[in-house]
């Protein structure tokens, strides 16, 4: 390819402008940091945090380091995102099926739900759940008893927790192996029933193994003004998950509907003329093709949901933004470093997922002949 001198010059100019801009920013930042007696660096991650995390999955005390705090709130972000994704998918599929119903009332109820939820801000929904619903719940002494020993009160959702015996870890490993092995066996066993039976039995048996390693179940009990025992899901997390998953579910519902309707009509007609029943045509012809249309769009919704966990900062859920762009930044004054860490982590999640999806899409793409 020919490269004209003009092209070279204009590209050099772009690079020069970028370099100048970068130089200006670093220079200003250096001056401003010097004014405040700060320097740039990540050593502060080793320093004592000095604050406590209201909700954590792994041990954390004020004596832990900032670096450990980063990991703890990263886990909290992942937890909110993971729960949100599961709930959003279930609700979204439900709403999507309702949107496709032949029944006019069912179809339009779903439409009304979709329109109301997607036309109101996500942040408003999270705050609404937190302030107007969860904080209006009864106090612990009058908590709502839910089936299975769970209790819902203004302090959050108290779940019974399981105490595991010494065999829990090996049992969990067996379960993990079984879960990996089962789909593979299922695919291998296209013609052999025994393999398919094994594919079904393996996860069930290993799950039973895990269940047997449980030594006791601890139920939440009221002591004084609060509950002890069991696992506490704080109202902040409930609000974030409720807000995020409801909001995302309506988009998933629309994607589901669009993908099913996007499968060419001829495919369904061909299936029924080959003598397939309605269910066979749905599961063997329509869904496999619709899934290929769905997956990239749904992944982008999952990514949006993950990014939106940052809205947890509005209800003080201790996730990345709340802790690092809030508490840590205010305490240490490390504004540039904290923001770089938070944005870098989100960017990393995003780029990794996109890379994985590109690979996956190439793998499942229908090869047109």
């Amino acid at each position: 390819m020919r490269i004209s001198p003009r092209d070279l010059v204009s590209q050099a100019l772009v690079l020069l402008a970028l370099a100048l801009g970068f130089w200006w920013l670093t220079r200003m930042a250096a001056l401003n940091l010097a004014d405040r007696n700060l320097n740039f660096g990540f050593e502060f991650l080793g320093a004592r945090a000095g604050f406590d995390m209201p909700f954590k999955l792994v041990p954390f005390t004020p004596n832990s380091s900032y670096g450990w705090a980063l990991f703890v709130c990263f886990l909290n972000t992942l937890l909110a995102a993971g729960l949100g994704i599961v709930v959003a998918t279930i609700l979204g599929l439900g709403l999507g099926i309702m949107r496709l119903a032949d029944n006019w009332l069912v179809r339009n109820t779903a439409l009304a739900i979709v329109e109301v939820i997607r036309n109101t801000p996500q942040l408003l929904q999270i705050i609404f759940w937190y302030v107007a619903v969860l904080q209006a719940l009864p106090p612990p002494r009058a908590g709502l008893q839910l089936p299975g020993g769970a209790i819902l009160s203004v302090r959050g959702l108290n779940l019974p927790s399981l105490n595991f015996g010494p065999h829990a870890l090996p049992a969990a490993l067996v379960l993990a192996v079984a879960l990996v092995l089962a789909p593979w066996l299922w695919r291998r066993g296209r013609r052999r029933v025994t393999l398919r039976a094994a594919a079904c039995a393996l996860p069930v048996a290993s799950l039973a193994l895990v269940a047997m390693s449980v030594t006791s179940i601890e139920f939440p009990a009221l002591r004084g003004f609060n509950y002890t025992g069991g696992f506490v899901v704080p109202p902040e997390l409930l609000a974030v998950v409720a807000g995020l998953s409801l909001y995302t579910s309506v988009f998933i519902a629309e994607i589901f509907r669009g993908s099913i309707e996007g499968v060419a009509k001829g495919q369904k007609e061909a299936a029924s003329s080959l003598g397939l029943t309605k269910m066979q045509s749905l599961f063997l012809v329509v869904l496999p093709q619709a899934l290929r249309l769905m997956i990239p769009q749904v992944t982008s919704q999952y990514l949006n949901l993950t990014k939106s966990t940052s809205l947890g900062a509005a209800v003080a859920y201790p996730e990345l933004v709340q802790i690092f762009a809030g508490t840590v930044l205010n305490q240490s004054g490390r504004a540039i470093e904290s923001m770089l860490l938070v944005m870098g982590i989100f960017l990393g999640i995003n780029l990794l997922t996109s890379a994985f999806m590109n690979w996956y899409n190439r793998r499942v793409a229908i090869v047109e002949r």
Binding site: D7, N32, D102, K307, M339
Partner: protein, 351 residues
């Protein structure tokens, strides 16, 4: 079709469908009456104090006495005509641009992009031409959401066009800079961008230079929206057949003229739905500024429901805000559908 026939076909076609219909009706029977009771039958709207309200229904009095606050924040009431004038100007010029004959549309669009923001800015800020100065920290409520949407929408659209063209440039440096910019902003949450604008902009400014909080939020929203707009516009650019570029080049047009007069006008018409969706998302996302200390509609409601004299009004406040956003977004998507169908040579194009 008779009514009975319609009902039979759409609600009671099969036994399964009949069960669903009955279930839905039962569900409505459980949910709707208490809701109506709360929102309408038992609700209060008279009076000006908390004592006018009952415990069983909604207290719309709370909304009534704060309506001005919810719409304008602390913008002084004798000056509010300026807010109205600015938005009226915006609406009139948008309609004129869309309705203008094809040959004037570019001119009208340019006016919309340059003249209107300047005039509106002067109107809102004041301090010149005998208009009293209104500091931006007095701006608030829904007015702030609309303002941020307009600024970031227009700014982001222009930025998006530049980035989309950059991403398709034949110069690798330009292409890579555009790609990096777009992917970077699309990979991080808007809230972190807002935090960055609030916390880091002062660090990157020369000594003694301060940037207004509202301007920082506008900057963050614009840069963020630009990345999303770029992807939308790129979709439109890709849809223009190569023959258009080749024909224009064969006619002797220079490359920038090919883009400006042949490709862009066609591409931009194609992306109206996408742009409208982005603007609706942007409008909803402007509520995020309430987290970084600006008082948009959501921020004002957050503040108002903490008022000691009006405790327990959270539901009313958030229901009101939700209704305002819902109606605005619905209106916007209807307008975009109209604009989409209105394209001047749509019929010719399709034929």
């Amino acid at each position: 079709m008779t009514a009975a026939g319609w009902i039979k076909r759409n609600l009671f076609a099969t036994w399964w469908s009949s069960i669903l219909t009955l279930l839905m009706v039962a569900l409505f029977g459980i949910v709707i009456p208490p809701l109506l009771q709360w929102a309408i039958t038992n609700a209060t709207i008279s009076g000006t104090t908390r004592s006018a309200c009952t415990d069983t229904g909604a207290c719309w009095t709370f909304i009534k006495v704060r309506l001005d606050l919810f719409f304008y924040g602390l913008y002084p009431s004798p000056e509010r005509w300026r807010v109205h004038a600015a938005f009226l100007l915006l609406i009139v010029s948008t309609v004129l641009t869309l309705k203008a004959p094809m040959r004037y549309q570019a001119l009208a669009g340019l006016t919309l992009l340059v003249l209107v923001p300047v005039t509106a800015g002067v109107l809102l800020v004041g301090g010149v031409l005998g208009l009293p100065y209104v500091p931006t920290n007095a701006w608030g409520g829904l007015m702030l959401n609309v303002l941020l949407t307009v600024v970031a929408g227009v700014g982001g659209f222009i930025l998006g066009i530049v980035l989309a063209l950059g991403r398709r440039s034949r110069l690798p440096v330009v292409r890579w800079v555009s790609v990096c910019y777009i992917e970077l902003w699309r990979g991080v949450p808007l809230l972190t961008v807002l935090f960055m604008a609030m916390l880091l902009v002062p660090l990157f400014m020369p000594r003694g230079v301060t940037v207004d909080n509202l301007v920082r939020a506008m900057l963050a929203l614009t840069l963020f929206t630009g990345a999303y707009m770029a992807e939308i516009v790129r979709g439109g650019l890709q849809a223009i057949p190569r023959g258009q570029v080749e024909a224009a080049t064969a006619l002797g047009l220079r490359p920038w003229k090919v883009q400006l007069f042949i490709v862009l006008p066609q591409a931009l018409r194609l992306v109206i739905p996408g742009v409208a969706n982005t603007i609706i998302d942007l409008f909803k996302d402007t509520t995020l500024v309430s987290i970084v200390g600006l008082f948009d509609l959501l921020g004002v409601v957050n503040q108002a429901q903490k008022d000691q004299a009006w405790l327990g009004m959270a539901r009313e406040g958030y229901a009101f805000a939700a209704a305002v956003f819902f109606l605005s977004c619905l209106l916007m998507s209807m307008l975009s559908r109209m604009a989409e169908q209105q394209g001047p040579d749509k019929a010719k194009h399709r034929a």
